[in-house]
Symmetry: none
Subunit: 242 residues, 2 copies
């Protein structure tokens, strides 16, 4: 169940275990969990560690607590939709499409004025320019151009890009991603868009620009994406309206 020798923190293992029960249907919305004291005894760990795991899941809206009564599985579990924003692949899978990538451009280039300003670059600083076609079931769905300062990831390679860039950055480089800011607008397909996305010149496209920041607030990445207007809808949930 849980492994005290594992390098993974115990509270994290408990979190994953409970998440697994919810995903598998072993715990359904509205169900009550065993009490903190019971969980602590059955896993043979202290109650405070169980609380740490549960607190994290409560903060993620997967569980909610009722004092004097118990801890229950939430009914809304859609805060996850934000996660999909970082990953085209997960977004497509959730819509039932098989995601794909085609790298069409990868270079170290000198930054434009916009990039110098956005990343607060100086002197001879370079940026990676990564341009990809995003595919859904083999059909082109979007063009994505990403800019990252070279000094943040000195050894970036196509090898790494073919896997998960974000995982590499978090685990190997130790950069933690914090928040992001996005703008979404309707535009007309340029000649380049039309060529890569199999559209006519001037057809409507969705242009999304995302600025990603590290958890200390320093900028990490700038992504400009153009999605086919006829095949892609951006979906989002808003939690509280107050």
């Amino acid at each position: 169940m849980v492994n005290k020798q594992s390098p993974l923190p115990l509270y994290y293992q408990i979190e994953e275990h409970i998440k697994g029960l919810i995903d598998s249907g072993g715990l359904k919305p509205g169900d009550v969990l065993p009490s903190e004291r019971e969980l602590a005894e059955s896993f043979n760990i202290s109650r405070m560690t169980v609380r740490q795991a549960i607190t994290n899941l409560v903060n993620k809206n997967l569980l909610y607590r009722k004092k004097g009564s118990g801890t229950y599985v939430s009914h809304h579990k859609f805060e996850q939709s934000l996660h999909g924003l970082t990953s085209f692949s997960e977004d497509m899978r959730s819509r039932g499409f098989e995601p794909g990538n085609k790298l069409i451009h990868f270079e170290l280039s000198s930054p434009t004025e916009e990039l110098v300003h956005h990343f607060s670059l100086q002197g001879e600083d370079l940026v990676y320019k990564i341009k990809r076609i995003r595919l859904a079931n083999g059909e082109p769905m979007a063009i994505e151009t990403s800019y990252i300062p070279v000094k943040l990831i000195p050894g970036l390679s196509q090898e790494i890009l073919s896997k998960s860039l974000y995982q590499y950055v978090e685990e190997q480089i130790g950069i933690k991603l914090g928040h992001a800011s996005q703008t979404i607008e309707a535009s007309a397909a340029t000649e380049d868009d039309a060529k890569h996305l199999q559209l006519e010149l001037g057809e409507p496209v969705l242009f999304i620009q995302r600025e990603t920041f590290q958890d200390d607030g320093a900028p990490f990445e700038l992504v400009k994406s153009t999605y086919r207007g006829d095949k892609y809808k951006y979906k989002m949930n808003i939690e509280r309206l107050r």
Copy 2:
């Protein structure tokens, strides 16, 4: 500083104290806090209680921790930008435009099949159909068509619409709004769009559809909006990327 006799939890008092320091400028973005042990000693409470306070502030993105280094004040403390989503007026004001409305259609109509299904209507149930032009500095910015089941607000009038519908609903009817679900897509201006928004036929527009729900999960409103593609960008923030 902190009062052990107060009914307020100690960790909460610490939270408020630190928030106060940030608001007053005593702690600026990037500044490092005293270490958890120092804080514990100076307040004469245990380190775990200090940690609880700091953890809450980290979850609110006011602080961030660096293992082995210290705890720092975040640079970005932007509030829920989600609030603006419910109100065109606030959205425009935050961009420096003066918002305006022009009601061009208000009727009780029999629902389409889509609406029957969405609101789970039956028999003779009717819906309000409210169509408005949204203005920014007097210029047309969007067309908005809103549908609400009549049985939810039996006495809706143009009088009420000219003020704040949401305020009326919450305070007079007692309906509490919960979450919303939105899709955003790029489209081409229809003849009707072109006429009202002073565009050419086929020009790109941003089409936004929002489904609003009450806090018990029952549907409340369906809004379909068409924004000028050349003058409007949808802006959003994403808090945590994990």
